[in-house]
Subunit: 108 residues, 2 copies
């Protein structure tokens, strides 16, 4: 049996992309500025990770205006939600194995 | 408040390095071949991730022999264990937020 880390997918697992998808699943839709603030990431870095997710079909990006201000809205696609579900299932398994090795989760 | 993904550290979060540290914390010590089998990873790729962890002081690598066969043993340092603990704490928080947004963890 292989380790759960072998099931993780680099597209979704990369920490900022994981954060983007997690926020979009919580919030249904988020704008570019909100993602930047939540993830403490530069504009260029966020753009490049959004491009990876968009090209993989995991997010949809919509550009529009609010009043005269340009805004960019991002939401997860069904494939994006499914990818995040698989990622989270593998993370749960990884954490459960560590907890078992440590005799249970830490007291909180 | 920022998202827990902003607290993840790329050195430990990268999926193979996360797998390596998780295995080492479960197993105390592992050899190179065991890590390769558990993580389904090429020799070159495993070597390069071990080098990153070694240079960050998170693992110790010991080369020796078993009979006449050369073997490479790897173990986590105290800093490696502490880094994995921080990573797992951030992952737990990320998963808990998603569960809260979904009305609880999935039935298992």
């Amino acid at each position: 049996m292989t380790h759960p880390a072998s099931q993780l997918d680099d597209i979704v697992h990369q920490r900022l992309r994981l954060g983007i998808l997690a926020i979009l699943v919580e919030a249904q839709e988020a704008d570019f500025r909100f993602l930047r603030e939540q993830l403490l990431v530069s504009e260029g870095n966020l753009s490049s990770h959004l491009r990876v997710l968009d090209e993989a079909g995991l997010v949809e990006i919509r550009k529009g205006f609010e009043g005269r201000r340009p805004r960019t809205w991002i939401r997860a696609t069904d494939a994006g939600r499914a990818s995040l579900d698989r990622e989270v299932a593998a993370l749960r398994e990884l954490v459960a194995r560590l907890d078992a090795a440590n005799g249970g989760p830490p007291a909180s």
